[in-house]
Subunit: 221 residues, 2 copies
């Protein structure tokens, strides 16, 4: 039995789904709402967050450990480079998205547009959305700089860094907040990822009452 | 050439020093003050934080990547278990301290007592210190629960989880904030770690003008 506790537009949950699909692993999806702070989720993850993967009787919580677990337990279709320095760069970028991008972009855009809505916390604050979009431009500029030198975010090959990066950006894209035309290198990279069969599940997501931006699932956007 | 950019009472920097010593690796220590947001540190780590390890021409930033790099590059004296599930538990606890403990304990106690002082941000706020101590008790209770079932934080053996946990707790201990007598299982675990030769460097730290609590370097506290 393999089950992923997730929320469809939670970027970390999406990274787990994308990695599972890249590994060719079937999984039952169980929707959870971490903002309810319900006991069942805390029993699986004492920190109360998503994603949580149950696999063959083991419970793996938090996105960094889930991604590394998939690589350790299912080494076919490798998503990590072999060299110690190259692996460190993948891990740096996983942490970058999990902590820095999360705090500077998701805490503004996803919080205002999605979390407030889901939790009935009132209308979005236009200034916070403007701030989030400014921070997002800064992050896209940083990613464009990385992609000037290499095809993947962490090096020449597709890795877990591309998986977590694309999962995060796909949420901003769902909401129509990605100014792709200003960052052509990022657009090229993301369009290559959109074409991967393992990404299709994410492109099929639809949040009730909140349809995605028009180009969201367009492979030739 | 091996050089660690660190700040003596930054818990993540201390975890890196402890791990380097466990691996038996010599390192030059270079003190950095991340709160100055100076350009040289941003060139080494675009996120601007500590620790940063320079090793044989490579630059490894952030504590999770540094710990895993040491394990990948210097597999002697292993500090990670072999099984995928056991490795995930070590990684969950590294993230626990790096994000949750940091936000709930260090952001109160270290911020009020050390960072404000170092950055001339004014007197500590007594209510924030009380809140930090409350959060610390909650964390110690959680660690005590883990140690009821096993000798190390993540399993039967000493791992990177013990390294990061002891590094964080040692900062609270320096400041005299650890109510060890209320948590005997944690005290036993920490006293075993204090006796490790690799921990001695941390016990020798002295911040100018801010001596540690009396028992700080007492191995039989």
């Amino acid at each position: 039995m393999r089950r992923l506790h997730h929320w469809p537009l939670d970027p970390a949950s999406r990274a787990a789904r994308f990695a599972l699909a890249e590994k060719g692993l079937d999984v039952d999806l169980e929707e959870a709402r971490p903002w309810l702070r319900a006991e069942p989720l805390f029993r699986l993850n004492p920190a109360g967050g998503l994603p949580v993967l149950e696999d063959n009787g083991a419970t793996i919580a938090e996105i960094g450990p889930v991604l590394e677990y998939l690589e350790d337990a299912y080494p076919g279709q490798p998503l990590m480079p072999r060299g110690a320095v190259e692996r460190a760069e993948v891990r740096r970028l996983i942490g970058w998205f999990d902590v820095k991008y999360n705090g500077e972009v998701n805490a503004y855009l996803l919080h205002e547009k999605l979390e407030k809505r889901a939790q009935s916390l009132g209308a979005p604050d236009p200034q916070a959305i403007r701030d989030g979009r400014d921070h997002l431009r800064w992050h896209l500029d940083y990613l464009a700089g990385l992609l000037d030198e290499r095809d993947g975010l962490a090096g020449p090959r597709f890795t877990l860094a591309d998986i977590i990066g694309a999962a995060h950006l796909s949420c901003a894209d769902y909401l129509g907040d990605l100014p792709f035309d200003e960052f052509p290198a990022v657009k090229t990279w993301y369009s290559r990822i959109k074409c991967r069969p393992a990404f299709r599940g994410l492109l099929a997501d639809r949040l009730p009452g909140l349809p995605p931006a028009k180009h969201y699932d367009d492979l030739d956007f």
